[in-house]
């Protein structure tokens, strides 16, 4: 167990090292895409500031609280674009083009391998902006922070990342079941708007759908509520269980789906 963990850990960092070497080789590309990422991040903050300024509130969240939420989203988004997008694109392509054989024959978990082999560093500035604005926004709300609150926030951020990853992996794994759907990977990025808003935005059927059945509306809300001192235990427990459950489901779904794979041993 220990040996296996160590092997996976070392492999994870080996890939990061390779990606860093690539970055150093294509420096211009890094700066260009970083600029694009920064501009979209600024645009996103601006867009929400316009909406909030219309009536000074969104579902009962004031401007500072909304900035906490948007910053939480921005931090999650930085990881989403850095890790998940690159890996899931390679993963689905390998299924459609019959290149999965390479991964299936490696002496490590295939799910692990296809999930960590790629990453981009273009969103580092997005992450930095998210953290800086988060700190400023929390200060502006004047909510007292304790070490316990920060630790709980970090824990739920990790759970949110796990949930996004699992969801994306499940959708990408559907590539084993469909003939060819090139934009299958765009499904999760297109739903990002759902976790960019407070869960109070969803009411009636939408509330049941996006906070209970498929709790996309909780992804940024739960960590933000924790930081703002308005987290509710029942929602935290429910969301935690759902996030871990979806990870387990994604592994199970991959195991049954991979049996449908056929390739010519490239």
């Amino acid at each position: 167990m220990y040996k296996s963990l160590r092997k996976h850990w070392r492999l994870f960092w080996k890939f990061r090292q390779l990606r860093l070497m690539l970055l150093l080789e294509y420096r211009n590309s890094f700066f260009f895409w970083s600029l694009v990422s920064v501009l979209w991040t600024a645009f996103n903050y601006f867009f929400f500031s316009l909406i909030v300024s219309a009536n000074n509130t969104i579902a009962g969240w004031n401007q500072s609280e909304m900035y906490v939420l948007i910053s939480t989203f921005t931090i999650l988004d930085a990881f989403t674009w850095s890790f998940f997008y690159a890996n899931m694109t390679t993963y689905t392509k390998s299924i459609f083009y019959g290149e999965m054989t390479t991964y299936l024959t490696r002496p490590v978990s295939t799910q692990f391998l296809v999930s960590i082999q790629n990453n981009s560093f273009n969103n580092i500035f997005r992450l930095v902006i998210g953290i800086v604005v988060l700190v400023k926004a929390v200060q502006a709300t004047q909510v007292p922070l304790s070490l316990g609150t920060i630790l709980l926030y970090v824990t739920f951020m990790i759970l949110s990342l796990l949930f996004i990853y699992s969801l994306w992996f499940i959708v990408a794994t559907c590539a084993f079941w469909v003939e060819r759907l090139d934009n299958i990977n765009e499904l999760i990025p297109a739903t990002r708007r759902m976790w960019q808003v407070p869960r109070g935005v969803y009411s009636g059927l939408a509330s049941t759908l996006f906070t209970v059945i498929l709790p996309l509306g909780l992804i940024s809300t739960i960590p933000s509520e924790i930081l703002l001192g308005k987290g509710e235990l029942r929602w935290m427990v429910y969301y935690g269980i759902f996030a871990v459950g979806s990870l387990l489901f994604s592994t199970w779904f991959f195991r049954i789906s991979v049996k449908r794979y056929s390739g010519v041993g490239n």
């Binding site: 316009l50 934009n183 059927l205």
Partner: protein, 266 residues
């Protein structure tokens, strides 16, 4: 000549037909974030019957029509066409008896006709569905308003197309040419009234938007349909002058770009 043109349009239409599952998914992916934005505005309007001259039902209608216009007018061929240019794969297109730019236009037009034919029923159904669960007002307009709307839709498409062409032609000079597409998207989102009606923008941005001709792409056609605006002759002249300017820029860039192009036989 016309037969060649229609043949190319038909060819592109049939190619798009082959990708109908992807197109269906793209349409859905454009509706989901819009639905969330509508829900955001519903929560913003809590306790307010009217904000900055817009009732909730009018604003929701505005945002939905913006999504439809975006689907009808936007062009996204930059990425894959740019890759073709960078890899020196357009030789066979340059040797054809129809100019490269015309071929790009006809191809885009064919795909656009398919998209419109395919998406309109889906948009109508979505509008009906959303109007059952959200307070969106029904669309009522006169024939003259509808005509003005159509003129501006054609204008919007041509502006999108020329801007996409400019991005594409810059690929001849810049390594990350296809990434310039993001600048195009950001500019249009910010300065055309696509994401929010002009009255909700801060005064400094309002004056910029009012001065630029990008407002005729989203803000004006929607407001014409909502009977808040009427097209004057000077508006038409301004829009036509802008189109001419973009066309001239495209011709100039193309002449220079051709001199830079080199490949080893495609």
């Amino acid at each position: 000549m016309w037969r060649r043109f229609t043949h190319l349009i038909k060819h592109s239409f049939l190619v798009s037909l082959g990708y109908r599952s992807e197109v269906f998914l793209w349409i859905l992916l454009s509706i989901v974030p819009t639905a969330v934005v509508l829900l955001i505005w519903v929560s913003v309007y809590q306790g307010a019957s009217e904000l900055r001259g817009f009732q909730l039902s009018q604003l929701l209608q505005y945002l939905f029509i913006a999504t439809v216009i975006s689907g009808i007018t936007s062009s996204h061929f930059e990425s894959w066409r740019a890759r073709e240019i960078r890899e020196g794969k357009i030789d066979y297109l340059l040797t054809k008896p129809i100019s490269y730019l015309t071929q790009v236009f006809l191809h885009d037009l064919g795909a656009k006709i398919f998209y419109i034919a395919y998406s309109i029923p889906i948009f109508i159904f979505s509008y009906w569905f959303l109007s059952q669960v959200l307070p969106i007002s029904g669309i009522q307009f006169s024939l003259i308003n509808f005509l003005q709307f159509c003129i501006l839709i054609v204008y919007g498409y041509l502006v999108e197309f020329f801007l996409a062409l400019i991005v594409l032609l810059l690929t001849f000079w810049f390594e990350n040419g296809e990434g310039l597409e993001h600048f195009k998207m950001l500019t249009i989102s910010l300065l055309s009234g696509m994401m929010i009606p002009i009255v909700f923008m801060p005064p400094w941005l309002q004056s910029i938007v009012q001065a630029l001709p990008l407002k005729y792409m989203y803000a004006w056609p929607i407001e014409i349909l909502q009977q808040r605006q009427t097209l004057q002759i000077q508006d038409l002249l301004y829009a036509a002058a802008f189109l001419l300017f973009l066309y001239g820029l495209v011709r100039l860039l193309w002449r220079r770009a051709l001199l830079r192009y080199c490949s080893a036989g495609g």
